[in-house]
Amino acid sequence: MNPFVKFMASPAGRITRIVAGIVLVALGLLVMHGVGGIIVAIVGLVPLVAGLFDFCVFAPLFGAPMSGPKIRGGK
């Protein structure tokens, strides 16, 4: 299994994605403003929701399943 995917599915990886998502949403809405800000905020929602609900959107690119439990189970 790809080490990047393994890290992203780990508890540390999930927290990283959630924090990164919150930072992007805050950056987009509180700092950038306008359409660009909204786009950054919506992009930030992707890692945020993925980390929160334990799935990895990029895992299929590395031949791994999207579900976090399945990635961890396949170690």
Binding site: I18, I22, V25, A26, L29, L30, H33, I38, A41, I42, L45, L48, V49, L52, F53, P65, P69, K70, R72, G73, G74
Partner: protein, 173 residues
């Protein structure tokens, strides 16, 4: 083996059975192998595990409507009480063994307490950011996503949600 022979074998068996439909080439089957071995030990003498090679029993799989592997089916008194296709974590697979033991369908996994807290906290943070930014135009969308995240922390305890999903299940049958 035909479906009739398989069902006869199940009925004659004194204990509940979890049948694992697998194949040697199937990576998810190998992924759950160690978990299944652990569960076999845990439920030894109460629930038995049978393995059916999907490559050797194609007709049986077809007649049992098994279209993907790994598939696990829990049987009690010769009747299937739970079925799951695909790799799954320990708790989900254990729920199949519990179903075989009790005859009840597996309970839906509720979010853990830590997950509930995390979802509430993150949802609140997202709503706060949207409110602080002025709640205009598409900011409402972000606030709605935050509300949705918060709801997922408590959805299984919401009577309106339960009533709606029960109604949906009734109409979709």
């Amino acid at each position: 083996m035909t479906k009739e022979e398989f069902e006869q074998k199940l009925r004659a068996h004194p204990r509940p059975v979890v049948v694992d439909f697998w194949a040697a080439w199937c990576a998810p089957c190998r992924a759950i192998e160690s978990v299944l071995e652990q569960l076999e030990k845990e439920y030894a003498g109460r629930v038995d595990t049978w393995k059916v090679n999907a490559d050797e029993e194609i007709e049986l799989l077809r007649s049992l409507h098994v279209y993907g592997i790994p598939t696990l089916i829990a049987y009690r008194d010769g009747k299937d009480v739970a079925k799951r296709t695909g790799a799954a974590p320990m708790a989900t697979l254990a729920s199949l063994f519990e179903s075989a033991l009790t005859g009840e369908p597996p309970k839906k996994m509720a979010p853990r307490f830590a997950d509930r807290l995390l979802r509430l906290g993150v949802g609140l943070a997202v709503i706060s950011i949207a409110v602080l930014s002025g709640l205009s135009g598409l900011h409402w969308l972000v606030a709605a996503v935050g509300t949705g995240i918060m709801f997922t922390a408590v959805y299984d305890r919401c009577p309106i949600w339960r009533a709606l999903t029960a109604q949906f299940k009734r109409t979709s049958v």
